[in-house]
């Protein structure tokens, strides 16, 4: 009887893994604090993972572009990237880290364009153009800039100034044009990121069912979406396959737009 139970548990674990690993890749452009009281040097981790379940850390294929915009001034940061091995709860993957002096007041809008990643399970490439916005001292400047990226989520809510229980609104765009009814995946960063050891912590919350791991929502006819933020922490939004590039090295390419937001508890 015990044996059958064990087998059943194993089967159900396997099913869960297979079901959730098909979706929910998220490019992280992570720094622990996005609303800084004053200017300081910050550390960033660039990890391609599944932020809720953390069942697989992908090997990043490289980075095509990495830059920051502050007060409309663009600074190239590609040479600041250092290769690291990042340890997830199930495996380790090739990732990057960088340092940046967020000295000036206002918003520091980071954009990273990774090299397309080949996803064997889907026989296709994935490229997630990712934005993270860090604010210094509380004056807004560049957070809502429209960068006319091939795939982009333009925020209508400051991504670093959201209370727990608040909401986030954005518009999915491709080359500056809204993408009606875009498919968006939403995930909670369900763990602490150990910035020193380059590893993920244990799960913070449990999902009652798989549709809570990666939440699928859709934009409206104007490419706009709103999501209520039930818990403080980092939330990632990924608009799937909205980019204008659809092929890479003779295979299908899903060019996605990712944005990260950080909600704060009211205490």
């Amino acid at each position: 009887m015990l044996d059958i139970k064990n087998k059943l548990v194993k089967i159900s674990v396997l099913t869960t893994l297979v079901a959730s690993s098909a979706a929910a890749h998220f490019q992280m452009l992570y720094t622990p604090e996005t609303a800084l009281e004053k200017g300081k040097k910050i550390e960033l981790k660039h990890v391609f993972t599944h932020p809720f379940a953390d069942e697989h850390t992908m090997d990043m294929a490289g980075v095509e572009e990495f830059y920051v915009i502050n007060k409309e001034k663009k600074t190239d940061l590609l040479t600041t990237l250092k290769e690291i091995t990042f340890k997830g709860n199930h495996n380790s993957g090739k990732a990057y880290e960088s340092e940046y002096k967020a000295q000036r007041m206002g918003d520091h809008l980071f954009v990273m364009v990774p090299k397309p990643y080949f996803e064997k399970n889907e026989d296709a490439y994935i490229q997630q153009i990712t934005k993270t916005i860090v604010n210094v001292a509380g004056t807004p400047s560049d957070w809502d800039a429209e960068l006319n990226l091939k795939a982009e989520i333009v925020p209508l809510t400051k991504p670093y100034a959201i209370w727990e229980g608040g909401s986030f609104t954005g518009i999915v765009k491709s080359n500056g044009k809204p993408v009606p009814y875009a498919e968006i995946e939403v995930e909670y960063l369900n763990r602490e990121v150990d910035m020193k050891q380059n590893k993920m912590g244990a799960s913070l919350v449990e999902a009652p069912q798989d549709s809570f791991v990666t939440m699928g929502i859709k934009a409206n006819k104007d490419g706009e979406f709103t999501f209520s933020i039930p818990k403080a922490g980092f939330w990632g939004f990924c608009a799937l396959g909205v980019g204008s590039d659809t092929n890479y090295q003779g295979k299908e390419l899903s060019q996605d737009a990712v944005i990260w937001i950080q909600a704060k508890p009211m205490k």
Binding site: K38, G39, K71, Q103, R104, M105, G106, V136, A137, G138, T139, P140, S141
Partner: protein
């Protein structure tokens, strides 16, 4: 007349509707840069800026077009003062200004 009303409205907005903010950093070359602004993102260009020591004003000027002011770092204790009017004065102690 309409223009005058609009002008007055904007001025009130800048002065009272939003929080004044200042942030300073040490450039590492014996100069300090202070940036001023408001919580709604409006410019602090032209706002009065002072550096004080022992109750005396060492430097007095206005925030630049880019809403900033750079000055030579004084010896000893000092404070940087961003004066955007009543209730909108921000003071940062020199000892709190780092690179």
């Amino acid at each position: 007349m309409k223009k005058i009303i609009l002008g007055a409205f904007l001025a009130i907005n800048t002065l009272f509707g939003h929080t004044a903010i200042m942030s300073c950093f040490d450039n590492g070359d014996d100069t300090i840069t202070c940036e001023g602004g408001f919580s709604d993102g409006s410019s602090a260009s032209g706002v009065v800026f002072k550096v004080e020591q022992n109750g005396k004003t060492l430097i007095e000027g206005k925030m630049s077009e880019d809403s900033e002011f750079t000055f030579k770092k004084p010896q000893g204790d000092y404070r940087a003062l961003f004066d955007a009017g009543e209730g909108h004065t921000i003071i940062i102690k020199g000892s709190e200004i780092t690179q």
